[in-house]
């Protein structure tokens, strides 16, 4: 095929296909390098002597290869505790948020549920309007969640935009006939949920799981406000002291030679290594999402934008949305189906 297109491309009318291919490849590789290089530089720096890093000797490869930075990171109790906290919050938060999405989306995907419109509006309002930082903080405090793991995800409630996507998926991508046949056979709503909806919605569930995981793993603002107790901070918040707060003291220390130097050297090494250690889990996981890209993720984005915002912004429009959504998203899934 490529041979054919190349021969066709030699017709008049601008650059040949071969030349434009070359330009595109160069362009894409250049972009690739620009995006990847900062990460690569940190990786190299984490394996080098920090003095060589600051002397500009580590642009391409490590200088004076060392794993001391990683050794220091993995023997630092506060970092390890932060890591453990992050894992706990991520696992609990992901389970919570996916369960919440499912138990909200499934009832609302039932066309003959009395009050469906009301519940839709009830949830959609929270997408656009909230109490703000302090009123939310006061509620969280008054319900006794401060410094408990619950504070990390309970105040987030239902992720409404994800819920809408799941709801549309249940309505349109799971054959109606299947649900109806199950009902004729006497299956209850819960049974249909458990035996039909959950097994048949794996692709969308995978997307929700990965996105929730990333969000919880990277979240530190919630913890900054609610997890003020000793030893409660997740990894990013622990790293704040190393990466952000120590910046001034480290550069001050670098001016003072002698006894501080060794300490400072270790601080710098921990800085580089901890970035790699903190970013690694998500960087390892995310390529798996890409496999789903032209399936659920593209649906994820288009649905979010088409049905999420302006159609459900006011009450009147939200009603319109719930009436129009099935027909509309059915059309959109049909168009993406060949992929």
């Amino acid at each position: 095929m490529s041979a054919k297109t190349k021969s066709v491309g030699k017709k008049p009318g601008g650059l040949s296909d071969r030349a434009s291919d070359a330009i595109l490849v160069v362009l894409c590789v250049a972009i690739l390098l620009v995006v990847a290089y900062p990460l690569y530089y940190i990786l190299v720096a984490s394996l080098s002597d920090p003095y060589d890093v600051y002397a500009g000797k580590t642009f391409l490869a490590p200088s004076q290869f060392t794993l001391d930075g990683y050794a220091a990171v993995f023997s630092d109790d506060s970092i390890l505790l932060g890591y453990w906290n992050s894992i706990k919050y991520t696992v609990a938060g992901t389970i919570f948020s996916v369960v919440m999405i499912y138990i909200t989306a499934y009832p609302l995907s039932n066309p003959d549920l009395p009050g469906r419109k009301f519940f839709n509006i009830f949830f959609v309002i929270t997408m656009y309007f909230g109490g703000g930082l302090i009123p939310t903080y006061l509620v969280v405090r008054d319900t006794g969640l401060i410094n408990t793991i619950w504070a990390m995800f309970l105040p987030g409630g239902v992720a409404v935009s994800n819920m809408i996507i799941a709801r549309n998926y249940f309505e349109t991508s799971i054959p109606k006939e299947l649900k109806e046949a199950a009902e004729i056979d006497g299956a209850s709503k819960l049974r249909i949920f458990w035996d039909i909806i959950i097994p048949l919605s794996r692709p969308i569930m995978a997307v929700m799981v990965v996105f929730s995981m990333v969000a919880y793993w990277n979240d530190w603002f919630t913890a900054l406000i609610y997890m003020t107790g000793e030893g409660r901070a997740p990894l990013p918040l622990v790293l704040r002291n190393i990466l952000i707060a120590s910046e001034t003291s480290a550069s001050q220390a670098s001016m003072i030679s002698g006894g501080y130097a060794e300490l400072n050297k270790l601080t710098e090494m921990i800085k580089f290594a901890s970035i790699i250690v903190a970013a690694a889990p998500m960087l390892i996981i995310y390529p798996f999402v890409q496999k789903l890209q032209y399936g659920p993720i593209s649906v994820y984005f288009t649905e979010q934008d088409e049905n999420g915002l302006w159609q459900s912004i006011t009450d009147e429009e939200a009603q319109e949305n719930s009436a129009r959504a099935p027909a509309k998203s059915r059309a959109s899934t049909r168009s993406t189906a060949p992929n």
């Binding site: 995006v35 720096a45 909230g130 309970l154 004729i184 209850s188 530190w220 990013p236």
Partner: protein, 335 residues
């Protein structure tokens, strides 16, 4: 556990209703709009769906407590909130906190910084994913395309905390990457004139790749026979991009632009908070950070809530205006 226990009981109650469902299923299968006409009595539907209400109970309760509860608490913006007196027991002070904010010395600087920072961020970072998507879509080497995509998505999955840590390392005046490459020793982060550029460029680096997904998905639905026809007519790759791909992206691009415009006041707190120093405050001082400082650090609950409410109000007005525009735009372009 309770779910599985509930199943057999529900099965028993569900069974006699089978035939009616059969009828409804046949009539409603073809046209969803007909359902309303042939619905069963409300009472029967309420009873049939009790399990669904049971499922909804948990999210509804959580939403009432943690979403609608704070909305009720917004009234402390108009009160002198004292924890000991509770929300309704605190004294009503009207617009006192708003007045205090609008007469505070940095008020207009903060509003200006908030709007400008998001405006620059919007204008510069909006076209990049479109250009990237157009280039990636025409790339015919699928392995390379896949590698580029994977790498471009990577920064999106990194925490803001890590990004800002990296920025501080790169921008450090002594031995930072940028200074090494330029051969200078400029303290970028402590110069207020640099702050917006740092914010916008790092934002593009982190999110532009991820932003291509929606455009690539749109491009994947372009009819391939158009490309074939264009090739036969001798159109070059760039002519194909200009006359086939770009027009296909316009509706989605307009949509994205409008959607992000409605978030103008919702500029990301996290990055600004982490990159702010005493010396770059002239441009990095934004409303969200001030709300945090006053509310959480200084426990000025009422004052902070009032500022937050002002921000939300502006945003909601923007959202409504923009959604009206979007509706009109979509009527023109999608239908």
């Amino acid at each position: 556990m309770s779910k599985t226990q509930a199943v057999p009981r529900a099965e028993r109650t569900g069974r006699p209703k089978g035939p009616q469902w059969l009828k409804r299923g046949k009539t409603s299968g073809k046209n969803a709009g007909d359902i309303a006409v042939r619905r069963k009595p409300l009472k029967q539907r309420l009873i049939e769906n009790w399990q669904l209400y049971l499922l909804l109970l948990i999210p509804v309760v959580i939403t009432i407590v943690y979403k609608y509860g704070p909305m009720y608490g917004i009234q402390i913006a108009f009160r002198d909130f004292k924890a000991s007196r509770g929300i309704t027991g605190s004294q009503w002070v009207g617009l006192q906190w708003f007045e205090e904010f609008f007469t505070s010395p940095n008020c207009w600087r903060m509003i200006k910084n908030t709007v400008l920072l998001s405006l620059y961020s919007l204008l510069w970072s909006f076209p990049v994913p479109i250009i990237l998507a157009l280039a990636l879509n025409q790339l015919r080497f699928h392995k390379l395309k896949r590698v580029v995509q994977t790498v471009l998505y990577a920064p999106h999955f990194i925490s803001t905390m890590i990004i800002c840590g990296m920025l501080r390392i790169f921008l450090s005046p002594s031995g930072g990457l940028i200074n090494l490459l330029l051969g200078t020793s400029i303290d970028f982060l402590n110069q207020s004139s640099m702050f917006r550029s740092i914010y916008v460029i790092s934002g593009i680096w982190q999110e532009a790749g991820w932003g291509t997904i929606i455009y690539l998905a749109t491009l994947s639905s372009v009819d391939t026979s158009l490309y074939e026809a264009a090739k036969v007519d001798g159109a070059s790759v760039f002519q194909r991009i200009l006359h086939i791909d770009l027009p296909a992206l316009v509706p989605m691009a307009v949509l994205q632009l409008i959607l992000s415009a409605s978030n103008l006041m919702n500029i990301g707190f996290e990055k600004v908070f982490l990159l702010q120093t005493d010396l770059n405050k002239a441009t990095s001082d934004i409303i969200a950070v001030y709300v945090y400082e006053q509310g959480i650090q200084h426990a000025e609950y009422s004052y902070s809530t009032a500022i937050g409410l002002f921000n939300t109000a502006v945003n909601i007005i923007l959202l409504i205006i923009v959604s009206r525009i979007a509706k009109k735009a979509s009527d023109v372009q999608f239908v």
